[in-house]
Amino acid sequence: MKKVILRIEHLKKSFGNKEVIKNFDLDVYEGEFLTLLGSSGCGKTTILRAIAGLDSVSDGHIYIDGKDVTMLDPKYREVNTIFQNYALFPLMTVEENIGFGLKMKKVNKQEIKKRVQEMLELVHLQGYEKRKPKELSGGEQQRVSIARGLINNPKVLLLDEPLSALDQKLRKSMQLELKQLQKKLGITFIYVTHSQDEALTMSDRIVLLKDGVIQQVDTPVKIYEHPNSLYTAQFLGDSNLFQGIVTRVEDNYTWVKVDDATLKIVSHGWCVGDALNILLRPENIKIILKEKKENTLQGTIVDRVYDGASTNLTIRVNKKKINVMYLGNDKLYSRGQSVYITWDIEDTIVLKREAYE
């Protein structure tokens, strides 16, 4: 059993009359990379700020390493925050910025100098000691801000969309670097982002939030392949949705009537008459030219978008538009062509349809 480094219990936060966080509970384990994922306004940053102590909470408790810090001033909390805009002190040099935390703790000068050097090495910024933040590129500033947080050896490092201001290419490489850094140091990272891409790439676990409520907490693989709700399934990755009613149930398989077709899925305690959502990821759909016995739909290719690594097809099946993705640039298919689509029965995501959907 891994050690719980951060525990949040019944956290509530309101701004005026608006309740932004409603009864939030979460355990974060030592050394893990946890991502708070959600669209803007879902409360992810609010939670991060509550952990850092930058905002007070309306109700609930926050424990860091077993100690209740709910009412504690940020300076007494053993966490550090990496801000979205880096928040580097503009008049201080890189060296002074990174050493600030230790200076506040009254560590002696030689020790600070030594530790700053170690940090600069860690983030590959040796030789930048005397520069001012505005003489650095965005990526370099971000490294300084990470070093400034890490030097204090926090129990948890909080990162608030730290890569959102960087360009695509730099973001990709910083993602990998952050992940490596985290593994190497073994420090717990709590990472806030709205990018599902970032969340899937870096996290050990993802917490998906919607309107201040947790939708699902799971590993990237589980949350992508076994979403527990339509919201999760549609937030992470693309998917094609079929809504249908169970018509026949056998021991191993269940048949669902969707529009004009009947789809076969793996039995999972469904009963005849159940309303289900069936989701198919674009990359799991295969295009074939001859009809198969089951789970095959006929359609016409209406659009084709090539984006380098992959090709995305839009196929009209009856009145529905289905997205299909495959790797490479296969010239075999063209617009207007009539094709069949099929998929492996294990790749179907099946969710019970809620009354309001």
């Binding site: 930058l54 001033d73 550090n80 925050t81 928040a87 002190f89 600030f100 506040m104 400034r148 204090n152």
Partner: protein, 284 residues
């Protein structure tokens, strides 16, 4: 000169005329007559002399200089003490509230400052409102001497000059990114440390600008000294005024004025030597 440059010149012209006619010329005139001799009837004799400058360094005048600098210094210091908490508190308010509060700071300017000084007389005198209230509450037994002394002068100076400190400091403080304050606290700095390590260094231009705008007039606001000091105190302002209007010794008055300009210039030069930028001063 092409037409674009000509247009630019045309628009700058009023400023050039203003500055040269109303600032540069009088200053040159003052500089010139400071080297003249005065005659007994208030006139000037245009023979070159540096006697006026030698006279300035008379012990009597030196003490006026020192007293003026002391009053101006205390005034500036108190203005800083009042302004920092005020602008820091304001800068956390909503933009609308900020505008309203800053407008209120400017409201006293709507009334003539001389009249406002007489207003202070009513408040500060022995039977004035402040003493009455304090005695009524039993805080004090004897009325305090709040005017016709140094205290009165400083109250008047601080009151009159406070907006000149608040305005530049406010525009300086509002450029400080609030995230920096959070980062500082996140990294373990106390509120005091954050103030001295992050806020003060970043608002230094505003602080200096404000100090200059308070310190310099405080050396010369003779009417405050005359009214609230009861005419017993002499600062540079009254000294110069007296030389020109009462003693009618223009050359000597001019010499004191020039020394005053030099003192102010020295402060600005010191600021630049310490790494301050002139552009930062212009902003507010």
């Amino acid at each position: 000169m092409n037409s674009k440059k000509l247009w630019k010149f045309f628009f700058i012209c009023p400023v050039i005329i203003y500055v040269s006619l109303l600032i540069a010329l009088p200053l040159i005139y003052i500089l010139l007559i400071s080297f003249f001799q005065s005659d007994y009837y208030g006139g000037m004799i245009s023979t070159f002399t540096i006697q006026n400058y030698i006279d300035v360094f008379d012990q009597v005048y030196i003490s006026v200089f020192l007293k003026s600098i002391f009053i101006a210094g205390i005034t500036t210091f108190i203005c800083i003490l009042i302004s920092y908490p005020f602008v820091l508190a304001i800068s956390h308010k909503k933009p609308r509230t900020q505008k309203i509060l800053m407008t209120l700071v400017m409201v006293p300017f709507l009334t003539n400052s001389l009249i406002r000084m007489y207003g202070w007389l009513v408040l500060l005198r022995k039977s004035g409102v402040i003493n009455q209230v304090l005695m009524g509450l039993g805080v004090i037994q004897e009325p305090l001497s709040l005017m016709y002394n140094m205290i009165g002068i400083i109250i008047g100076m601080v009151y009159t000059l406070l907006p000149f400190m608040i305005l530049p400091l406010y525009s300086s403080v509002s450029t400080v990114d609030p995230y920096l304050l959070e980062a500082s606290s996140d990294l373990g700095a106390s509120k005091m440390k954050t103030f001295f390590k992050i806020i003060v260094p970043q608002t230094l231009p505003g602080l200096f600008n404000g100090s200059l705008m308070v310190f310099t007039p405080a050396l010369g606001y003779f009417f405050i000294v005359d009214i609230l000091g009861g005419g017993k105190m002499m600062i540079l302002g009254n000294l110069i005024k007296n030389q020109f209007l009462t003693a009618r010794n223009w050359p000597f008055g001019a010499a004191i004025s020039i020394v005053l300009v030099l003192i102010t210039s020295l402060v600005i030069i010191a600021y630049r030597k310490l790494g301050g930028k002139m552009e930062d001063l212009g902003g507010a």
